[in-house]
Symmetry: C2
Subunit: 143 residues, 2 copies
DNA sequence: GATAAGCCTACTATACCACAAGGAAAATAG
DNA sequence: CTATTTTCCTTGTGGTATAGTAGGCTTATC
């Protein structure tokens, strides 16, 4: 499986926050219940999103989490790359990209480079806004 | 990492076989040495490729492995799907696709479906032939 | 009889995944 | 000031998958 729960849950709670009371703070408990995700596990995901300013956290009563930017300013690609570490199909294209000794004559490297570009190009088209139900971009599913 | 060594090694040895003496049988030892892959580990990969008739094995002296089809008839997508089990980005799109209870209102499912189609569309363009070196003289065994 | 695939079990080592536990720190209400 | 709320932070844990390693036995071919 290419996308782990960390990336998937992150997208889901971001869309949830964008759809429910965008300026208010929503508690972790409320998010976890609505999305049917373990509260403690979700905490570790949300922590990362706060760290990179995609989310804002507020402590104390009336606190919780809200989006750090407008939904259209949050790229699906960025969220997934943050949460997954990398989306690169092979290690030599990853962030720690240690150059492979066979790279000069590797028959498959161009294939992986193209795949990487294809995936990033696809995911780069979407924002949290484009995943929302209210959006008119063809993702309007009837419940 | 999205593509494991099983898929990557499989592609590499298929291209290797396509480039070196396409009609002859090549021993596992020769393949392993040339591709710098552990012989025992490669055995498990090759076994699977024989099982699905992408490779042909011949026992005894003069035996080894050769392609079971022409290089242009072997799809990169097929090889990777065989070796990786699935390329689906999320479990609910995989082969054992257990339908998620949230599918009806899932905001991200269309995203994953599109990603799956994008990846399969990209990889479906390539064959083992298209990964072969064809610009320099020595290795170009065009059939 | 040498060679080499085919098949089998078992074992290690590492890493990541999906979560759980408990407490510290900060904000707010009374 | 105290109690409550809620995030923030560190640590641990069981399970699964990856990437091998090791060895032996069978079968087929030259």
């Amino acid at each position: 499986m290419m996308i782990s729960t960390r990336g998937r849950y992150a997208l889901r709670i971001l869309v949830d926050l964008a759809e429910h009371r965008p300026e208010a703070y929503v508690t972790l408990r409320e998010l976890a219940e609505r999305q049917e995700i373990s509260e403690k596990y979700l905490e570790s995901i949300v922590k990362e999103l706060v760290r990179v300013c995609i989310l804002e956290g507020l402590r104390g009563k009336g606190g919780g989490y809200r989006l750090g930017r407008e939904p259209e300013q949050i790229s699906v690609l960025e969220v997934l790359e943050r949460m997954e570490g990398t989306l690169a199909p092979v290690a030599c294209l990853g962030p720690e990209g240690k150059p492979c000794s066979r790279a000069a004559f590797c028959r498959t490297l161009p294939l992986w480079k193209g795949l990487d570009e294809t995936v990033r190009g696809y995911l780069g088209q979407f924002s949290i806004r484009s995943l929302m139900r209210s959006d008119e971009g063809g993702y309007d599913y009837v419940i």
